[in-house]
Protein backbone atom coordinates (compact mmCIF):
# COMPACT_ATOMS: atom_id res chain seq x y z
CA UNK A 1 0.00 0.00 0.00
CA UNK A 2 1.26 3.41 -1.05
CA UNK A 3 4.92 2.32 -1.24
CA UNK A 4 6.94 5.17 -2.69
CA UNK A 5 3.86 7.40 -2.94
CA UNK A 6 3.91 10.98 -1.81
CA UNK A 7 1.51 11.81 1.03
CA UNK A 8 -0.79 14.35 -0.58
CA UNK A 9 -4.39 15.16 -1.41
CA UNK A 10 -4.37 12.81 -4.42
CA UNK A 11 -3.43 9.90 -2.21
CA UNK A 12 -6.23 10.75 0.21
CA UNK A 13 -8.75 10.98 -2.65
CA UNK A 14 -7.59 7.60 -3.89
CA UNK A 15 -8.03 6.23 -0.39
CA UNK A 16 -11.65 7.36 -0.33
CA UNK A 17 -12.22 5.48 -3.59
CA UNK A 18 -10.59 2.40 -2.08
CA UNK A 19 -12.98 2.54 0.88
CA UNK A 20 -15.97 2.89 -1.46
CA UNK A 21 -14.67 0.04 -3.62
CA UNK A 22 -14.65 -2.07 -0.44
CA UNK A 23 -18.42 -1.48 -0.11
CA UNK A 24 -18.14 0.82 2.90
CA UNK A 25 -20.68 3.07 1.26
CA UNK A 26 -20.22 6.79 0.59
CA UNK A 27 -21.39 7.94 4.04
CA UNK A 28 -19.03 5.71 6.02
CA UNK A 29 -16.17 6.33 3.59
CA UNK A 30 -16.63 10.10 3.89
CA UNK A 31 -16.79 9.88 7.68
CA UNK A 32 -13.52 7.96 7.85
CA UNK A 33 -11.73 10.07 5.22
CA UNK A 34 -12.78 13.29 7.02
CA UNK A 35 -10.91 11.98 10.06
CA UNK A 36 -7.89 11.22 7.87
CA UNK A 37 -8.02 14.74 6.41
CA UNK A 38 -8.24 16.30 9.88
CA UNK A 39 -5.27 14.27 11.06
CA UNK A 40 -3.39 15.19 7.86
CA UNK A 41 -4.04 18.90 8.45
CA UNK A 42 -2.82 18.50 12.02
CA UNK A 43 0.37 17.02 10.57
CA UNK A 44 -0.16 13.73 12.33
CA UNK A 45 1.39 11.78 9.43
CA UNK A 46 5.06 11.61 8.47
CA UNK A 47 4.63 9.30 5.50
CA UNK A 48 1.91 7.35 3.67
CA UNK A 49 2.41 4.33 5.89
CA UNK A 50 1.19 6.37 8.86
CA UNK A 51 -2.10 6.91 7.05
CA UNK A 52 -2.39 3.19 6.48
CA UNK A 53 -1.81 2.47 10.17
CA UNK A 54 -4.32 5.19 11.13
CA UNK A 55 -6.98 3.63 8.87
CA UNK A 56 -6.30 0.11 10.07
CA UNK A 57 -6.55 1.20 13.69
CA UNK A 58 -9.78 3.07 12.99
CA UNK A 59 -11.36 0.09 11.26
CA UNK A 60 -10.15 -2.34 13.91
CA UNK A 61 -11.67 -0.07 16.58
CA UNK A 62 -14.97 0.13 14.70
CA UNK A 63 -15.25 -3.62 14.23
CA UNK A 64 -13.55 -4.89 17.36
CA UNK A 65 -14.96 -5.36 20.82
CA UNK A 66 -15.67 -8.34 23.04
CA UNK A 67 -18.61 -9.59 21.00
CA UNK A 68 -16.80 -9.58 17.68
CA UNK A 69 -15.30 -12.82 16.36
CA UNK A 70 -16.24 -14.55 19.53
CA UNK A 71 -17.40 -18.07 19.83
CA UNK A 72 -20.94 -19.29 19.88
CA UNK A 73 -22.28 -18.05 23.19
CA UNK A 74 -23.17 -21.31 24.95
CA UNK A 75 -26.28 -21.58 27.11
CA UNK A 76 -25.94 -22.06 30.86
CA UNK A 77 -27.56 -25.46 30.43
CA UNK A 78 -27.67 -27.25 27.06
CA UNK A 79 -28.95 -27.24 24.44
CA UNK A 80 -27.57 -24.03 23.00
CA UNK A 81 -29.82 -22.99 20.12
CA UNK A 82 -28.39 -21.15 17.11
CA UNK A 83 -30.93 -19.75 14.65
CA UNK A 84 -29.50 -19.02 11.19
CA UNK A 85 -31.27 -16.45 9.02
CA UNK A 86 -30.71 -14.34 5.94
CA UNK A 87 -31.79 -13.47 2.43
CA UNK A 88 -31.93 -15.97 -0.41
CA UNK A 89 -28.69 -17.61 -1.45
CA UNK A 90 -26.51 -15.83 1.12
CA UNK A 91 -24.93 -19.09 2.36
CA UNK A 92 -27.00 -20.14 5.39
CA UNK A 93 -27.17 -23.89 4.80
CA UNK A 94 -23.47 -24.15 3.97
CA UNK A 95 -22.57 -21.97 6.98
CA UNK A 96 -24.51 -24.33 9.25
CA UNK A 97 -22.46 -27.23 7.89
CA UNK A 98 -19.34 -25.27 8.82
CA UNK A 99 -20.52 -24.55 12.36
CA UNK A 100 -21.57 -28.18 12.77
CA UNK A 101 -18.11 -29.23 11.68
CA UNK A 102 -16.32 -26.92 14.15
CA UNK A 103 -18.56 -27.98 17.03
CA UNK A 104 -18.22 -31.68 16.22
CA UNK A 105 -14.43 -31.33 16.24
CA UNK A 106 -14.80 -29.67 19.66
CA UNK A 107 -16.57 -32.85 20.79
CA UNK A 108 -19.95 -31.17 21.03
CA UNK A 109 -23.09 -33.16 20.25
CA UNK A 110 -24.81 -31.31 17.39
CA UNK A 111 -28.35 -31.56 16.02
CA UNK A 112 -29.52 -29.87 12.81
CA UNK A 113 -33.07 -28.60 12.22
CA UNK A 114 -34.14 -28.42 8.56
CA UNK A 115 -36.64 -25.56 8.88
CA UNK A 116 -36.44 -24.57 5.21
CA UNK A 117 -39.52 -26.50 4.20
CA UNK A 118 -40.12 -24.34 1.18
CA UNK A 119 -37.31 -24.38 -1.36
CA UNK A 120 -36.74 -27.27 -3.76
CA UNK A 121 -34.36 -29.86 -2.26
CA UNK A 122 -33.49 -27.62 0.71
CA UNK A 123 -34.01 -30.44 3.20
CA UNK A 124 -32.01 -32.86 1.02
CA UNK A 125 -29.14 -30.35 0.84
CA UNK A 126 -28.89 -30.07 4.64
CA UNK A 127 -29.37 -33.81 5.03
CA UNK A 128 -26.34 -34.50 2.83
CA UNK A 129 -24.29 -32.21 5.07
CA UNK A 130 -25.56 -33.95 8.20
CA UNK A 131 -24.45 -37.29 6.76
CA UNK A 132 -21.04 -36.01 5.69
CA UNK A 133 -20.31 -34.41 9.04
CA UNK A 134 -21.89 -37.17 11.09
CA UNK A 135 -24.58 -35.26 12.95
CA UNK A 136 -28.27 -35.95 13.35
CA UNK A 137 -31.01 -33.98 11.65
CA UNK A 138 -34.66 -33.23 12.38
CA UNK A 139 -36.71 -32.71 9.24
CA UNK A 140 -40.20 -32.93 7.80
CA UNK A 141 -41.45 -33.07 4.24
CA UNK A 142 -41.51 -30.03 1.96
CA UNK A 143 -44.48 -27.81 2.73
CA UNK A 144 -44.50 -28.58 6.44
CA UNK A 145 -44.83 -25.66 8.84
CA UNK A 146 -41.26 -24.52 9.62
CA UNK A 147 -42.26 -23.48 13.16
CA UNK A 148 -43.56 -26.99 13.81
CA UNK A 149 -40.23 -28.46 12.66
CA UNK A 150 -38.41 -25.97 14.91
CA UNK A 151 -40.53 -27.04 17.88
CA UNK A 152 -39.92 -30.73 17.21
CA UNK A 153 -36.20 -30.03 16.87
CA UNK A 154 -36.05 -28.15 20.19
CA UNK A 155 -37.92 -31.05 21.77
CA UNK A 156 -35.52 -33.59 20.28
CA UNK A 157 -32.51 -31.49 21.31
CA UNK A 158 -33.59 -31.75 24.95
CA UNK A 159 -34.56 -35.40 24.75
CA UNK A 160 -31.29 -36.42 23.08
CA UNK A 161 -29.17 -34.27 25.41
CA UNK A 162 -27.70 -32.33 22.49
CA UNK A 163 -25.11 -29.60 23.14
CA UNK A 164 -25.96 -27.38 20.16
CA UNK A 165 -29.05 -27.18 17.96
CA UNK A 166 -28.41 -25.42 14.62
CA UNK A 167 -31.62 -24.22 12.96
CA UNK A 168 -31.58 -23.67 9.19
CA UNK A 169 -34.30 -21.42 7.79
CA UNK A 170 -35.46 -20.56 4.28
CA UNK A 171 -33.90 -17.63 2.53
CA UNK A 172 -36.23 -14.65 2.58
CA UNK A 173 -36.01 -11.08 1.40
CA UNK A 174 -36.48 -8.69 4.32
CA UNK A 175 -39.09 -6.84 2.27
CA UNK A 176 -41.47 -9.80 2.41
CA UNK A 177 -43.65 -8.99 5.41
CA UNK A 178 -45.31 -12.42 5.68
CA UNK A 179 -41.98 -14.27 5.49
CA UNK A 180 -40.50 -12.03 8.17
CA UNK A 181 -43.54 -12.75 10.35
CA UNK A 182 -42.95 -16.46 9.79
CA UNK A 183 -39.38 -16.04 11.04
CA UNK A 184 -40.61 -14.23 14.15
CA UNK A 185 -42.94 -17.15 14.75
CA UNK A 186 -40.10 -19.66 14.47
CA UNK A 187 -38.19 -17.77 17.19
CA UNK A 188 -41.29 -17.57 19.42
CA UNK A 189 -41.99 -21.28 19.07
CA UNK A 190 -38.41 -22.13 20.00
CA UNK A 191 -38.73 -19.85 23.03
CA UNK A 192 -41.90 -21.71 24.09
CA UNK A 193 -39.87 -24.88 24.45
CA UNK A 194 -36.63 -23.25 25.67
CA UNK A 195 -37.27 -19.82 27.27
CA UNK A 196 -33.66 -18.59 26.93
CA UNK A 197 -33.38 -19.70 23.32
CA UNK A 198 -32.28 -18.90 20.72
CA UNK A 199 -28.93 -18.12 22.34
CA UNK A 200 -27.40 -16.96 19.08
CA UNK A 201 -29.14 -15.65 15.98
CA UNK A 202 -26.70 -15.37 13.10
CA UNK A 203 -27.56 -13.28 10.07
CA UNK A 204 -25.68 -14.79 7.12
CA UNK A 205 -24.59 -12.03 4.79
CA UNK A 206 -23.11 -12.53 1.32
CA UNK A 207 -19.86 -10.55 1.21
CA UNK A 208 -20.67 -9.42 -2.34
CA UNK A 209 -23.74 -7.54 -1.08
CA UNK A 210 -23.70 -3.77 -1.24
CA UNK A 211 -25.49 -1.18 0.88
CA UNK A 212 -28.71 -3.21 0.93
CA UNK A 213 -27.05 -5.29 3.66
CA UNK A 214 -27.76 -2.49 6.13
CA UNK A 215 -31.50 -2.66 5.41
CA UNK A 216 -31.28 -6.46 5.73
CA UNK A 217 -29.61 -6.21 9.14
CA UNK A 218 -32.10 -3.61 10.39
CA UNK A 219 -35.18 -5.53 9.27
CA UNK A 220 -34.07 -8.98 10.41
CA UNK A 221 -33.17 -7.46 13.76
CA UNK A 222 -36.76 -6.25 14.09
CA UNK A 223 -38.23 -9.75 13.92
CA UNK A 224 -35.55 -11.91 15.53
CA UNK A 225 -32.87 -11.15 18.12
CA UNK A 226 -29.90 -11.15 15.77
CA UNK A 227 -26.71 -11.44 17.82
CA UNK A 228 -24.15 -11.33 15.05
CA UNK A 229 -23.21 -11.67 11.41
CA UNK A 230 -21.76 -14.61 9.55
CA UNK A 231 -20.02 -12.97 6.58
CA UNK A 232 -19.97 -15.62 3.84
CA UNK A 233 -18.07 -15.76 0.55
CA UNK A 234 -15.22 -13.58 1.73
CA UNK A 235 -12.93 -15.81 -0.36
CA UNK A 236 -14.06 -13.88 -3.43
CA UNK A 237 -12.85 -10.41 -4.37
CA UNK A 238 -15.56 -8.52 -2.46
CA UNK A 239 -14.28 -6.91 0.73
CA UNK A 240 -17.49 -6.87 2.78
CA UNK A 241 -16.92 -3.30 3.99
CA UNK A 242 -20.66 -2.86 4.55
CA UNK A 243 -20.21 -4.60 7.94
CA UNK A 244 -18.79 -1.30 9.21
CA UNK A 245 -22.00 0.49 8.31
CA UNK A 246 -23.96 -2.32 9.95
CA UNK A 247 -21.86 -2.02 13.09
CA UNK A 248 -22.44 1.76 13.16
CA UNK A 249 -26.15 1.72 12.44
CA UNK A 250 -27.36 -1.59 13.83
CA UNK A 251 -24.66 -2.43 16.37
CA UNK A 252 -24.13 -5.99 15.16
CA UNK A 253 -20.67 -7.61 15.34
CA UNK A 254 -19.22 -10.02 12.80
CA UNK A 255 -18.74 -13.40 14.47
CA UNK A 256 -17.64 -15.69 11.66
CA UNK A 257 -16.48 -15.45 8.07
CA UNK A 258 -17.00 -18.00 5.35
CA UNK A 259 -14.06 -18.52 3.02
CA UNK A 260 -15.12 -21.35 0.76
CA UNK A 261 -17.63 -24.09 0.07
CA UNK A 262 -16.43 -26.92 2.32
CA UNK A 263 -17.17 -27.37 6.05
CA UNK A 264 -13.59 -26.37 6.92
CA UNK A 265 -13.86 -23.00 5.18
CA UNK A 266 -14.82 -20.94 8.20
CA UNK A 267 -12.86 -18.62 10.48
CA UNK A 268 -13.65 -16.62 13.58
CA UNK A 269 -13.83 -12.97 12.59
CA UNK A 270 -10.54 -11.16 13.08
CA UNK A 271 -10.87 -7.35 12.83
CA UNK A 272 -7.10 -7.02 12.22
CA UNK A 273 -7.01 -9.43 9.32
CA UNK A 274 -10.19 -7.85 7.94
CA UNK A 275 -8.73 -4.33 8.08
CA UNK A 276 -5.53 -5.60 6.47
CA UNK A 277 -7.40 -7.32 3.63
CA UNK A 278 -9.37 -4.15 2.89
CA UNK A 279 -6.23 -2.46 1.64
CA UNK A 280 -4.79 -5.30 -0.39
Amino acid sequence: FAIGRKLDQDLIDELEEKLIAADMGPATATQIIDEVKAAYKARAFKDPNDVYVFLKDKIRALLGGPDAGGDIRFAATPPTVVLVVGVNGSGKTTSIAKLASILTKEKKKVLLAACDTFRAAAVEQLEIWSQRIGVEIIKAQTGADPAAVAFDAADAAVARKVDVLLVDTAGRLHTKENLMQELGKIQRVIKKKLPDAPHEVLLVLDATTGQNAIAQAKTFREVVDVTGLFLAKLDGTAKGGVVIGIRNEVGLPVKFVGVGETPDDVERFDPDAFAEALFE
Binding site: T175, T208, T209, G210, Q211
Partner: protein, 291 residues
Amino acid sequence: SITEKLTAAFSRLTSRGKLTEANIQEGLREVRQALLEADVNFKVAKDFIASVTAKAVGKEVIESIRPGQQIVKIVHDELVALMGPTDGYIHWQSSGPTVILMAGLQGSGKTTTCGKLAKYLVKKGKRPLLVAADVQRPAAIQQLQVLGKDLGVPVYAEPSGRPPKICERAIGHAKETDRDVVILDTAGRLHIDAALMQEVKEVADRTKPDEIFLVCDAMTGQDAVNSASAFHAQLPLTGVVLTKLDGDARGGAAMSVKAVTGKPIKFVGLGEKLDEFDEFHPDRMASRILG
Protein backbone atom coordinates in the same frame (compact mmCIF):
# COMPACT_ATOMS: atom_id res chain seq x y z
CA SER B 1 -35.47 11.86 -3.46
CA ILE B 2 -32.84 12.72 -6.05
CA THR B 3 -35.26 15.15 -7.72
CA GLU B 4 -35.72 17.11 -4.48
CA LYS B 5 -31.97 17.13 -3.82
CA LEU B 6 -31.20 18.39 -7.31
CA THR B 7 -33.94 21.01 -7.18
CA ALA B 8 -32.35 22.34 -4.00
CA ALA B 9 -28.87 22.20 -5.53
CA PHE B 10 -30.01 24.15 -8.57
CA SER B 11 -32.26 26.61 -6.79
CA ARG B 12 -29.83 29.40 -7.54
CA LEU B 13 -29.67 28.67 -11.27
CA THR B 14 -31.32 31.58 -13.04
CA SER B 15 -33.76 30.82 -15.77
CA ARG B 16 -31.90 32.66 -18.47
CA GLY B 17 -28.60 31.22 -19.59
CA LYS B 18 -26.83 27.99 -20.26
CA LEU B 19 -25.94 25.03 -18.11
CA THR B 20 -22.22 25.26 -17.41
CA GLU B 21 -19.82 22.85 -15.79
CA ALA B 22 -19.58 25.24 -12.87
CA ASN B 23 -23.28 25.58 -12.20
CA ILE B 24 -24.07 21.86 -12.47
CA GLN B 25 -21.09 20.60 -10.41
CA GLU B 26 -22.90 20.61 -7.11
CA GLY B 27 -25.97 18.95 -8.55
CA LEU B 28 -23.89 16.25 -10.15
CA ARG B 29 -22.20 15.58 -6.83
CA GLU B 30 -25.68 14.75 -5.54
CA VAL B 31 -26.13 12.39 -8.47
CA ARG B 32 -22.79 10.72 -7.77
CA GLN B 33 -23.79 10.26 -4.13
CA ALA B 34 -27.11 8.71 -5.18
CA LEU B 35 -25.37 6.33 -7.57
CA LEU B 36 -22.84 5.21 -4.94
CA GLU B 37 -25.59 4.68 -2.38
CA ALA B 38 -27.31 2.59 -5.05
CA ASP B 39 -24.18 0.40 -5.31
CA VAL B 40 -23.10 1.61 -8.74
CA ASN B 41 -19.37 0.95 -9.01
CA PHE B 42 -17.42 4.14 -8.29
CA LYS B 43 -15.50 4.03 -11.60
CA VAL B 44 -18.72 3.46 -13.57
CA ALA B 45 -20.32 6.35 -11.66
CA LYS B 46 -17.36 8.61 -12.46
CA ASP B 47 -17.54 7.82 -16.20
CA PHE B 48 -21.29 8.27 -16.16
CA ILE B 49 -21.09 11.70 -14.49
CA ALA B 50 -18.52 12.73 -17.09
CA SER B 51 -20.81 11.74 -19.94
CA VAL B 52 -23.80 13.48 -18.33
CA THR B 53 -21.68 16.62 -17.86
CA ALA B 54 -20.80 16.52 -21.55
CA LYS B 55 -24.47 16.11 -22.46
CA ALA B 56 -25.68 18.85 -20.13
CA VAL B 57 -23.09 21.60 -20.60
CA GLY B 58 -24.07 24.16 -23.17
CA LYS B 59 -27.74 23.29 -23.06
CA GLU B 60 -30.11 26.18 -22.66
CA VAL B 61 -31.77 26.30 -19.30
CA ILE B 62 -35.35 25.34 -20.10
CA GLU B 63 -37.62 27.98 -18.65
CA SER B 64 -40.73 25.89 -18.29
CA ILE B 65 -39.29 23.36 -15.85
CA ARG B 66 -37.13 23.75 -12.79
CA PRO B 67 -33.36 23.35 -13.46
CA GLY B 68 -33.10 20.38 -11.11
CA GLN B 69 -35.72 18.54 -13.11
CA GLN B 70 -33.86 19.24 -16.32
CA ILE B 71 -30.72 17.59 -14.97
CA VAL B 72 -32.74 14.68 -13.61
CA LYS B 73 -34.19 14.15 -17.08
CA ILE B 74 -30.74 14.18 -18.68
CA VAL B 75 -29.42 11.77 -16.04
CA HIS B 76 -32.46 9.51 -16.32
CA ASP B 77 -32.31 9.42 -20.12
CA GLU B 78 -28.57 8.71 -20.06
CA LEU B 79 -29.12 5.86 -17.58
CA VAL B 80 -31.86 4.36 -19.74
CA ALA B 81 -29.65 4.67 -22.81
CA LEU B 82 -26.77 2.98 -20.99
CA MET B 83 -28.79 0.06 -19.64
CA GLY B 84 -31.32 -0.41 -22.39
CA PRO B 85 -32.98 -1.37 -24.58
CA THR B 86 -35.45 -4.05 -23.54
CA ASP B 87 -34.07 -7.10 -25.30
CA GLY B 88 -35.44 -10.51 -24.42
CA TYR B 89 -34.15 -11.80 -27.72
CA ILE B 90 -32.88 -15.38 -27.91
CA HIS B 91 -30.87 -16.65 -30.89
CA TRP B 92 -33.17 -19.47 -31.92
CA GLN B 93 -31.49 -22.21 -33.89
CA SER B 94 -33.34 -23.29 -36.99
CA SER B 95 -31.79 -26.75 -36.98
CA GLY B 96 -30.84 -28.54 -33.79
CA PRO B 97 -31.54 -27.42 -30.26
CA THR B 98 -30.87 -23.88 -29.09
CA VAL B 99 -28.36 -24.07 -26.24
CA ILE B 100 -28.48 -21.66 -23.30
CA LEU B 101 -25.74 -21.68 -20.66
CA MET B 102 -26.28 -20.15 -17.17
CA ALA B 103 -23.18 -19.01 -15.31
CA GLY B 104 -22.42 -16.88 -12.29
CA LEU B 105 -21.32 -16.60 -8.69
CA GLN B 106 -22.55 -18.83 -5.89
CA GLY B 107 -26.15 -18.31 -4.84
CA SER B 108 -26.97 -15.73 -7.53
CA GLY B 109 -30.11 -17.62 -8.60
CA LYS B 110 -28.97 -19.72 -11.58
CA THR B 111 -30.87 -22.93 -10.82
CA THR B 112 -34.11 -21.09 -10.08
CA THR B 113 -33.63 -18.97 -13.21
CA CYS B 114 -33.18 -22.14 -15.30
CA GLY B 115 -36.61 -23.22 -14.08
CA LYS B 116 -38.10 -19.81 -14.81
CA LEU B 117 -36.61 -19.72 -18.28
CA ALA B 118 -37.97 -23.20 -18.98
CA LYS B 119 -41.45 -22.13 -17.93
CA TYR B 120 -41.18 -18.94 -20.03
CA LEU B 121 -40.10 -20.96 -23.07
CA VAL B 122 -42.86 -23.56 -22.65
CA LYS B 123 -45.34 -20.66 -22.78
CA LYS B 124 -43.72 -19.67 -26.08
CA GLY B 125 -44.33 -23.15 -27.45
CA LYS B 126 -40.79 -24.45 -26.99
CA ARG B 127 -39.79 -27.90 -25.71
CA PRO B 128 -36.92 -27.22 -23.28
CA LEU B 129 -34.61 -29.74 -21.66
CA LEU B 130 -33.08 -28.78 -18.32
CA VAL B 131 -29.55 -30.05 -17.73
CA ALA B 132 -28.26 -30.59 -14.20
CA ALA B 133 -24.60 -29.81 -14.78
CA ASP B 134 -23.85 -28.72 -11.18
CA VAL B 135 -22.25 -31.87 -9.82
CA GLN B 136 -20.68 -29.94 -6.96
CA ARG B 137 -23.34 -28.58 -4.65
CA PRO B 138 -25.18 -31.06 -2.40
CA ALA B 139 -28.63 -31.83 -3.88
CA ALA B 140 -28.18 -29.40 -6.78
CA ILE B 141 -29.31 -32.06 -9.23
CA GLN B 142 -32.31 -32.84 -7.05
CA GLN B 143 -33.16 -29.15 -6.85
CA LEU B 144 -33.38 -28.89 -10.65
CA GLN B 145 -35.28 -32.19 -10.84
CA VAL B 146 -37.92 -30.86 -8.45
CA LEU B 147 -38.32 -27.74 -10.60
CA GLY B 148 -38.50 -29.81 -13.77
CA LYS B 149 -41.13 -32.08 -12.24
CA ASP B 150 -43.23 -29.09 -11.17
CA LEU B 151 -43.07 -27.76 -14.73
CA GLY B 152 -43.44 -31.04 -16.58
CA VAL B 153 -40.06 -30.34 -18.21
CA PRO B 154 -37.53 -33.19 -18.51
CA VAL B 155 -34.23 -32.91 -16.64
CA TYR B 156 -31.06 -34.52 -17.94
CA ALA B 157 -28.65 -35.69 -15.26
CA GLU B 158 -25.88 -38.24 -14.90
CA PRO B 159 -24.84 -40.14 -11.75
CA SER B 160 -21.19 -39.16 -12.16
CA GLY B 161 -18.90 -37.38 -14.59
CA ARG B 162 -17.76 -33.85 -15.24
CA PRO B 163 -19.87 -30.98 -16.56
CA PRO B 164 -18.30 -30.56 -20.03
CA LYS B 165 -19.04 -34.16 -21.06
CA ILE B 166 -22.42 -34.16 -19.30
CA CYS B 167 -23.52 -31.07 -21.22
CA GLU B 168 -22.26 -32.49 -24.51
CA ARG B 169 -24.21 -35.70 -23.99
CA ALA B 170 -27.25 -33.72 -22.89
CA ILE B 171 -27.40 -32.04 -26.28
CA GLY B 172 -27.28 -35.45 -27.94
CA HIS B 173 -30.10 -36.53 -25.65
CA ALA B 174 -32.11 -33.42 -26.60
CA LYS B 175 -31.78 -34.30 -30.26
CA GLU B 176 -32.86 -37.87 -29.58
CA THR B 177 -35.89 -36.79 -27.58
CA ASP B 178 -36.87 -33.90 -29.84
CA ARG B 179 -36.26 -31.12 -27.33
CA ASP B 180 -35.58 -27.82 -29.08
CA VAL B 181 -33.94 -25.80 -26.27
CA VAL B 182 -31.25 -27.02 -23.87
CA ILE B 183 -30.78 -25.05 -20.64
CA LEU B 184 -27.47 -25.78 -18.90
CA ASP B 185 -27.46 -25.16 -15.13
CA THR B 186 -23.90 -24.87 -13.89
CA ALA B 187 -22.35 -24.69 -10.42
CA GLY B 188 -21.78 -21.32 -8.81
CA ARG B 189 -18.13 -20.36 -9.03
CA LEU B 190 -15.76 -17.56 -8.11
CA HIS B 191 -14.31 -15.65 -11.06
CA ILE B 192 -10.90 -16.00 -9.36
CA ASP B 193 -11.12 -19.79 -9.23
CA ALA B 194 -8.98 -20.64 -12.24
CA ALA B 195 -9.91 -24.33 -12.35
CA LEU B 196 -13.65 -23.69 -12.22
CA MET B 197 -13.47 -20.83 -14.73
CA GLN B 198 -11.57 -23.19 -17.03
CA GLU B 199 -14.29 -25.80 -16.50
CA VAL B 200 -17.17 -23.52 -17.52
CA LYS B 201 -15.10 -22.34 -20.48
CA GLU B 202 -14.77 -25.96 -21.49
CA VAL B 203 -18.52 -26.46 -21.24
CA ALA B 204 -18.97 -23.48 -23.57
CA ASP B 205 -16.30 -24.72 -25.99
CA ARG B 206 -17.89 -28.15 -26.24
CA THR B 207 -21.51 -27.09 -26.45
CA LYS B 208 -21.18 -23.85 -28.44
CA PRO B 209 -24.13 -22.18 -26.67
CA ASP B 210 -26.36 -19.84 -28.59
CA GLU B 211 -26.84 -17.80 -25.42
CA ILE B 212 -24.56 -17.49 -22.39
CA PHE B 213 -26.24 -15.64 -19.53
CA LEU B 214 -24.41 -14.21 -16.56
CA VAL B 215 -26.82 -14.51 -13.63
CA CYS B 216 -26.23 -11.64 -11.26
CA ASP B 217 -27.81 -10.81 -7.88
CA ALA B 218 -29.40 -7.34 -7.85
CA MET B 219 -28.04 -6.63 -4.35
CA THR B 220 -24.41 -7.01 -5.43
CA GLY B 221 -22.21 -4.08 -4.51
CA GLN B 222 -18.98 -2.67 -5.91
CA ASP B 223 -17.64 -6.16 -6.68
CA ALA B 224 -20.11 -6.56 -9.57
CA VAL B 225 -17.56 -5.07 -11.98
CA ASN B 226 -14.89 -7.55 -10.91
CA SER B 227 -16.95 -10.68 -11.36
CA ALA B 228 -18.74 -9.45 -14.49
CA SER B 229 -15.56 -8.42 -16.28
CA ALA B 230 -13.86 -11.71 -15.36
CA PHE B 231 -16.77 -13.79 -16.70
CA HIS B 232 -16.91 -11.56 -19.75
CA ALA B 233 -13.21 -12.15 -20.39
CA GLN B 234 -13.53 -15.94 -20.16
CA LEU B 235 -16.90 -16.57 -21.80
CA PRO B 236 -18.62 -15.12 -24.86
CA LEU B 237 -21.50 -13.77 -22.77
CA THR B 238 -24.61 -12.84 -24.71
CA GLY B 239 -26.70 -11.47 -21.88
CA VAL B 240 -27.29 -10.92 -18.20
CA VAL B 241 -30.13 -11.95 -15.91
CA LEU B 242 -30.59 -9.76 -12.85
CA THR B 243 -32.20 -11.67 -9.96
CA LYS B 244 -33.96 -10.85 -6.69
CA LEU B 245 -35.27 -7.53 -7.96
CA ASP B 246 -38.32 -8.13 -5.75
CA GLY B 247 -36.19 -6.88 -2.85
CA ASP B 248 -35.40 -3.23 -2.17
CA ALA B 249 -31.80 -3.16 -3.33
CA ARG B 250 -31.43 -0.12 -5.59
CA GLY B 251 -29.67 -2.37 -8.09
CA GLY B 252 -26.70 -0.26 -9.16
CA ALA B 253 -25.03 -3.54 -10.10
CA ALA B 254 -27.21 -3.47 -13.23
CA MET B 255 -25.45 -0.33 -14.39
CA SER B 256 -22.02 -1.62 -13.44
CA VAL B 257 -22.47 -4.95 -15.22
CA LYS B 258 -23.84 -3.33 -18.37
CA ALA B 259 -21.00 -0.79 -18.39
CA VAL B 260 -18.20 -3.35 -18.10
CA THR B 261 -19.61 -6.08 -20.35
CA GLY B 262 -21.67 -4.12 -22.85
CA LYS B 263 -24.04 -7.11 -22.85
CA PRO B 264 -27.79 -6.60 -22.62
CA ILE B 265 -29.66 -7.32 -19.42
CA LYS B 266 -32.26 -9.60 -20.92
CA PHE B 267 -34.36 -10.83 -18.02
CA VAL B 268 -35.03 -10.17 -14.37
CA GLY B 269 -36.00 -12.39 -11.46
CA LEU B 270 -38.88 -10.98 -9.43
CA GLY B 271 -39.40 -13.70 -6.85
CA GLU B 272 -38.86 -17.33 -5.93
CA LYS B 273 -41.77 -18.71 -7.93
CA LEU B 274 -41.11 -19.90 -11.45
CA ASP B 275 -43.50 -17.37 -13.01
CA GLU B 276 -41.73 -14.44 -11.30
CA PHE B 277 -39.65 -13.66 -14.35
CA ASP B 278 -39.85 -10.80 -16.84
CA GLU B 279 -37.97 -8.97 -19.53
CA PHE B 280 -35.69 -6.20 -18.30
CA HIS B 281 -37.09 -2.68 -18.46
CA PRO B 282 -34.31 -0.04 -18.41
CA ASP B 283 -36.63 2.86 -17.60
CA ARG B 284 -37.90 1.16 -14.45
CA MET B 285 -34.33 0.27 -13.48
CA ALA B 286 -33.15 3.85 -14.02
CA SER B 287 -35.81 5.24 -11.67
CA ARG B 288 -35.00 2.58 -9.10
CA ILE B 289 -31.25 3.29 -9.16
CA LEU B 290 -31.73 7.05 -8.85
CA GLY B 291 -33.99 6.47 -5.87
